[in-house]
């Protein structure tokens, strides 16, 4: 692993009417485990199925049904823990969290309060070159997701779909180490990135596969440092928890609003009531979820249906040995192996699919392509073009092989950079093998000096006045180069043209 010394970013400071305030933020991220079947039943986890079709009797909490744990979900949680450099608990246990809601047929959620499967870890959240926040992870536990209630299909009824009921979630709990709205969003982005590399959560926020509860409090400058020294929470303000947000933008907006709300109360001489709040994206504000307060009495107790979960160190070691290269390591390698800039390496490693595409283009070993050239084409041409079409990398019409073919033609000198862009456009819109297109459409760069000389001679012969001017002002040679390029349909090798024009004009 790379071990670059980072400078922590400055905490966000909000100026109140009376004084400055700082933010203290901790997150609970709920990440849906990527698996075929649910945590405790054999029903499918596929999104978007017919309502109540991905439901087994276990999920519907029919009397007498017993949960049987999906071992792959356990492996996924362990994999995630290892990816966050966290300790794995070889013995963990499941508890019942009791509350009453229509989309929770059991009347309790099976979770891990007392003995989570993953212990303390960390995430390095980069906030700029050389600037990063180290966010400590307190724990990750496995739990069941609830179903989905739909309130807008009927004026008097709520409709309940249990397809999501019992799907495995990982709840990733951070310490209150995050000091601003941007950091909070960047932390979620980083978690998502790592989990997508690990293949443990697809990170699809729109489908609700990644959601965050955010704990926000405010304190006076200096109080946070006192908390850090003593780990005594009494130095920090009372926190409020904003529930269930599934967009980076909402997370930031909700924190910003909530911090200002708390500052307003404190500066008016009031006190913050610890409570659960909901962010309303339409109004851009948070509001109290009073209904949840009473239900907060969860009466946890060990789940009598499940023995403790015991796993073997050797099994954990096997998972650790098979971990893929993670974003930080991959970025460092792209910089050292291919000489890419910090920015380019960040762009290429931002998502696991981007990185895989780039690696397929650049190839490997002795016949690998030039990394910088490949990076340039992937980032500037392909990503730029995809963005224009609103496509993601997985929807690219240009395969890594095709783009690699274009890069090869440039490297061999078969086509000029300008022609390469035309070729790319053809491959993007029409498809086809780049080398064959170049042959079939006569796009090959003319390096035959005889042909170029003939073209130069003609331009000189046709423009005697310009020749005279160019002799006075050598900068005009560029005009001749342009004319020759035009005459050859852009296929002449620009370097050769430059040399021949200069020689023929006697410059």
């Amino acid at each position: 692993m790379l071990d670059i010394a980072h400078t922590p970013p400055a905490p966000k400071v909000i100026a109140g009417a009376k004084q400055d305030w700082e933010l203290v933020i901790g997150l609970e991220v709920h990440a849906q485990v990527s698996s075929n079947a649910k945590l405790f039943s054999g029903a499918s986890t596929t999104f978007g199925a017919e309502p109540n079709s991905n439901v087994a009797f276990v999920d519907a909490a029919m009397p007498g049904m017993l949960p049987v744990i999906n071992e792959f979900c356990v492996a996924q949680a362990v994999r995630t823990g290892l990816g966050l450099k966290a300790g794995i608990n070889l013995t963990s246990a499941f508890d019942r969290k009791n509350y009453f809601y229509p989309d929770l047929p059991q009347g309790y959620q099976i979770s891990q309060l007392y003995h989570p499967i993953v212990g303390e870890g960390e995430v390095i959240v980069e906030m700029g070159e050389g600037i990063a926040r180290r966010v400590r992870i307190e724990r990750i536990h496995l739990e069941q997701d609830a179903g989905k209630s739909i309130h807008d299909m009927d004026p008097h009824m709520s409709f309940v779909d249990l397809n999501r009921t019992g799907v495995a979630l990982m709840e990733i709990v951070s310490r209150p180490d995050i000091r601003g709205p941007e950091e909070a969003a960047a932390y979620v982005v980083k978690l998502r990135q790592i989990m997508r590399y690990l293949g443990t959560c697809d990170g699809n926020m729109q489908n609700g596969n990644l959601r965050a509860d955010v704990n926000v409090s405010v304190c006076r400058p200096g109080d946070y440092e006192r908390y850090q020294e003593s780990q005594d929470f009494s130095h920090l303000g009372t926190r409020c928890e904003i529930k269930n947000m599934n967009s980076m933008r909402f997370i930031q907006a909700a924190i910003e609003y909530e911090a200002r709300r708390q500052i307003g109360i404190l500066e008016d001489g009031g006190t913050i009531v610890q409570e659960t709040r909901l962010y309303d994206p339409d109004k851009g504000e948070t509001r109290s979820m009073r209904s949840k307060e009473e239900a907060h009495d969860y009466r946890y107790f060990p789940c009598p249906d499940l023995l403790p979960l015991e796993i073997e160190q050797a099994w954990v070691d096997d998972i650790a040995a098979a971990l893929p290269e993670l974003p930080d390591a991959k970025k460092a390698r792209f910089m050292s192996e291919f000489g890419l800039t910090d920015y380019d390496a960040s762009v290429l490693t931002a998502d696991v699919d981007n990185a895989a595409y780039f690696e397929a283009v650049v190839g490997g070993g002795s016949d690998g392509r030039d990394g910088k050239l490949a990076a340039n084409w992937v980032i500037n041409e392909l990503f730029g073009r995809l963005k224009k079409e609103d496509h993601t990398i997985t929807e690219t019409p240009v395969s890594a092989d095709q783009l690699g073919g274009i890069v090869d033609l440039i490297t061999k000198g078969d086509i000029s950079g300008k022609i390469a862009k035309e070729l790319f456009e053809i491959v993007f819109t029409e498809g086809g093998d780049p080398a064959e297109i170049v042959e079939a459409r006569g796009m090959r760069q003319v390096t035959d000096t005889g042909a170029i000389e003939a073209a130069v001679d003609k331009v000189i012969a046709d423009n005697p006045a310009q020749v005279e001017k160019a002799k006075q002002n050598p900068k005009l040679a560029g005009w001749f180069v342009g004319q020759v390029m035009k005459a050859t349909g852009g296929k002449a090798n620009p370097k050769a043209v430059n040399q021949i024009v200069a020689a023929k004009l006697g410059l």
Binding site: N70, P102, F159
Partner: protein, 95 residues
């Protein structure tokens, strides 16, 4: 620990079980009897004793990550007092 009528009412409400006011004192008394018994168990010194989760040595049973169940929408909904368009229909829950 002592349970009064007010706590008994709260527990009943959390469990969504209706208990008439005049039945609460008796319910509270029953709770107290049960809790008293548990408190008595608490007198046993279990320092250094691992909790026993099973009489015979047993390992938590695992399943493979294979879809083996589901696609029984009609059966899942068959006991529902009200179901529409494949959903359970329940009295409006307002947040």
């Amino acid at each position: 620990m002592s349970i009064d009528s007010e706590t008994a009412a709260k527990v009943a409400k959390l469990a969504r079980i209706r208990v008439e006011d005049d039945a609460l004192p008796a319910l509270a008394a029953e709770f107290n009897t049960i809790l008293g018994f548990i408190e008595q168990l608490g007198e046993v010194d279990v320092d250094g004793v691992e909790p026993m989760v099973s009489v015979t040595p047993m390992r938590l049973k695992r399943r493979e990550d294979v879809v083996t169940d589901g696609d029984i929408q009609a059966k899942i909904l068959s006991n529902a007092p009200d179901a529409r368009e494949g959903f359970f229909a329940v009295p409006k829950v307002v947040e």
